[in-house]
């Protein structure tokens, strides 16, 4: 097993920023994250099951964050392992990682241009202590303990030691006053390597596409970006808001008094007050899948939807649907029914006019979305009616030319899956 990555914050600031903001977003959600290195990309996952590894069913109060960092973000990317696609999966503390990045940031901002090298190092002495602890504690299953390794992160910082005249004289009178010194920073981040079976359990959640509404949100840097940004953040000034309802609505032709075909609202319905924040700017929307034939299948979001569909067809793995913890049995049954009589459901939704997609999520999760919105370029919001909500952010990274001609580089992407908190 071998892992060696190099990234340079001053030579490719955009790429570095992607990795950096991914780490800080993951750190804002949970204490630990799963890093899955494959020969093509690094996937960083924040999932509630990563620490317990008991079940892949999402609980109602937990979201999952999946971040993709293509390998060409790194100036050098070497991953070798015995598993398929050279997969190496590990779990580590986000805070430690984030602090290292902060130190590196500081060094870059002071004009340094050093590489940051990340290597996997075996730490036999750490594993001894872990297994012996376990043995003394439980006296069983030392073999099942995950091996602990270290992600060794190193970078060099060049500093100018501007010695003043007096100090130079005291130091012996010779030697130039403008000496440069190199500080070599080296960190070891403890990580827990995950077994193949554990790794297999961490799978990207799928959304129920039978009643799915997708909106391509205005680009943050575009004409409507600032407006949409304040739309997302308007809710934050209300204290004591725990849950919000996202509501997407399509108006049919006869409702011609609306300037838009679509309406996106944030709704809070509390005992003694009611709030509705409505976005009136442009909204690029599509209903999946019943409207798919009417729309040109050009956008990446559309492709994502198709991907989702294929996944569902292939796996039909009900355990991966986002479910509510409070009523697992109920909703589980519902989902199964949904899938079985899928065609029927589609028919039903076609008959329901005007189609409305609503989901209740935590306002805390929505706040994470507002931070993600600032950091990315293409954002898609998907609402699966009364089940889940997905905030899909992509960062295009220009084109690359090789012998096969020009083609776009793989996008950096962050997908935030939020389960509903309760029924609409």
């Amino acid at each position: 097993m071998k892992l060696k990555l190099i990234i340079n914050g001053s030579e490719s600031p955009e790429d570095y920023k992607l990795l950096r903001s991914t780490i800080s977003t993951v750190a804002s959600l949970r204490k630990t994250a799963v890093l899955r290195f494959t020969s093509e990309r690094l996937v960083i996952v924040s999932t509630p099951s990563s620490s317990t590894l008991s079940s892949s069913v999402l609980h109602g109060d937990n979201g999952q964050l999946w971040c993709t960092i293509p390998k060409d973000v790194f100036s050098s990317y070497e991953v070798v392992s015995a598993r398929d696609l050279n997969t190496i999966t590990m779990e580590c503390s986000c805070d430690v990682l984030q602090n290292i990045f902060k130190k590196y940031d500081k060094s870059i901002n002071q004009g340094n241009d050093g590489d940051m090298t990340i290597k996997l190092q075996s730490m036999p002495e750490w594993n001894v202590s872990v297994s012996s602890n376990l043995e003394s504690g439980k006296g069983t299953t030392a073999a099942k303990t995950n091996p602990v390794c270290a992600l060794g992160v190193t970078f060099e910082e060049v500093i100018n030691t501007n010695m003043d005249a007096n100090a130079a004289v005291k130091a012996g009178g010779h030697g130039d006053a403008n000496a440069t010194k190199i500080i070599s920073h080296s960190f070891k981040v403890p990580t827990k390597l995950l077994f193949r079976a554990q790794d297999a359990k961490i799978r990207e959640p799928m959304i129920n596409y039978t009643q799915l509404m997708m909106y391509r949100l205005p680009t943050p840097l575009g004409e409507w970006g600032r407006g949409f940004q304040s739309f997302i953040r308007r809710i934050e000034r209300y204290s004591n808001v725990h849950n919000i309802k996202l509501s997407g609505k399509k108006f049919w032709q006869d409702d011609s008094n609306h300037s838009n075909d679509h309406e996106l609202k944030i709704i809070v319905n509390e005992l003694d007050w009611y709030l509705e924040i409505c976005w009136n700017g442009p909204l690029d929307a599509m209903i999946q899948p019943q409207d798919r034939t009417q729309e040109p299948p050009a956008s990446p979001a559309e492709q994502m939807a198709v991907d989702v569909e294929i996944d569902v067809e292939e796996t039909r793995d009900q355990s991966l649907f986002i479910e509510e913890s409070a009523s697992i049995d109920d909703s589980h049954a519902e989902t199964t029914v949904d899938a079985n009589v899928k065609d029927k459901t589609v028919d039903q939704t076609n008959n329901e006019s005007p189609s409305k997609h609503e989901v209740v999520i935590r306002s805390k999760d929505w706040k994470v979305c507002s931070k993600l919105y600032e950091a990315f370029e293409e954002i898609v919001l998907a609402i699966s009616h009364d089940e889940s909500c997905v905030f899909h952010c992509t960062l295009p990274r220009g084109n690359v030319e090789d012998e096969e001609g020009e083609h776009p580089r793989e996008h950096g992407q962050v997908i935030y899956y939020m389960a509903r908190v309760r029924k609409v």
Partner: protein
């Protein structure tokens, strides 16, 4: 948006200004109901705490671009009352994260009993509507908190910022109870002081008597209404209650203080719009205010606060306060001179001429200290000179 049949609707763009105004209500109970009284001239927000202190805040209709109040009858004094929680309204009004180049227009509306109080915020891309239930109306009962105009003993006008910094200082020294001391002087050198009583003992904050700060101070005889000079008016308040007016004083340009014989103090605060624009000018968002000036007729925020005195003071308290206030005056004969701050100050200044009567009080100690001090004084210049020669 609203037709003429709506009982009340008004819209404004001066959200920062209203936020500033409503923030004055928060010390009176952040999560409590505030009574909103709507009439043809504007809105007033009223709240009363334990019949000890009350606040009324007026927002004149000139603050609104449009102001429609359609009472069911022609009575000019007709008004509508409703109750909403202070924090609810403040949360809604204070739009912080917003596009700075855009103007948010806010429409307030209410359509009588059983309907919610509605705020609608609109800018070019977002429409936000928030409805607050108005279940109960706790009626306004100002009994005991109304100033008796025929029995006023003190009337005083001062600058708001001076009162604010005095209150701020009192809070910082950990004031528990406070006294108000006011004395008019025939020569115009009035005295207005706030005295804090806390763990640190008594400490007085004397407000400058310049006309530019203390514009007017008059003390009246409660029955004959004649002006009195050199006769102090003393008030005694619980500081936690008294301090509730601090956030109002912060935005005040002028404060009118009046106190009647029954121990009620009424504080009228006027906050001129100019002041708001000036104080907001430090923040970048003030550009909005200058580009959309308020109507010239707008009188500013008007706040009325009434505070009741804590208890009747006994003679000991009064004499203590009088002593504290008058001990600084040179005109007073040092007939009564216990061990106290002013006493020590005199010793520290090191006058060789210790008064005769003091040595009577401190017979041996001061007698021995006096000469010693005198000797020190004589030697000091010499010792100071010595290092220069080395």
């Amino acid at each position: 948006m609203f037709d003429q049949t709506t009982l009340f609707s008004a819209s404004t763009v001066h959200l920062e200004h209203i936020t500033t105004a409503l923030n004055c209500l928060t010390p009176f109970g952040m999560k409590d109901d505030v009574l909103i009284i709507i009439d043809k001239d504007g809105l007033s927000f009223a709240r009363e705490n334990n019949r000890v202190i009350s606040i009324q805040l007026y927002l004149s209709k000139e603050l609104f671009i449009s102001y429609n109040y359609n009472p069911p009858n022609e009575d000019a004094d007709f008004h509508t009352k409703l109750c909403v929680k202070i924090n609810h309204i403040l949360d809604g009004i204070s739009i912080v994260s917003r596009d700075k180049d855009d103007v948010v227009e806010c429409t307030l509306s209410y359509n009588g009993e059983g309907t919610p109080f509605v705020l609608i915020f609109e800018d070019s891309v977002i429409t936000e509507k928030v409805e607050y239930s108005t279940y109960l109306v706790r009626d306004w009962d100002p009994t005991g908190l109304e100033l008796e105009m025929d029995a006023i003993t003190l009337e005083c006008i001062m600058k708001g910022d001076v009162l604010y910094s005095a209150l701020q200082d009192m809070k910082e020294v950990g004031c528990k109870e406070c006294y108000l001391y006011a004395r008019a002087a025939a020569d115009g050198k009035h005295v207005f002081a706030l005295i804090s009583k806390g763990q640190l003992g008594l400490s007085k904050i004397l407000l400058p008597s310049e006309r530019s700060i203390l514009e007017k101070l008059e003390v009246y005889h409660p029955l004959s209404h004649e002006r009195l000079y050199d006769s102090p008016v003393i008030g005694f308040f619980d500081f936690a209650t008294f301090d509730k007016m601090r956030s109002s004083a912060k935005i005040a340009s002028k404060v009118l203080l009046r106190k009647d014989i029954h121990g009620l103090m009424s504080v009228n605060i006027l906050s001129q719009t100019d002041d708001i624009i000036v104080s907001d000018a430090k923040k970048p968002r003030a550009v909005k205010n200058t580009s959309l000036p308020l109507s010239k007729d707008y009188p500013g925020i008007v706040i009325d606060i009434s505070v009741l005195e804590k208890i009747r003071m006994d003679e000991v308290d009064i004499s203590e306060i009088r002593f504290l206030m008058e001990s600084g005056d040179k005109s007073l004969a040092p007939a009564y001179n216990p061990v106290d701050v002013p006493e020590q100050r005199k010793m520290a200044t090191g006058a060789v001429a210790l008064q005769q009567d003091e040595s009577l009080l401190f017979d041996k100690r001061s007698a021995s200290e006096g000469p010693a001090k005198g000797a020190d004084e004589e030697y000091l210049p010499a010792t100071n000179d010595i290092p220069l020669f080395f």
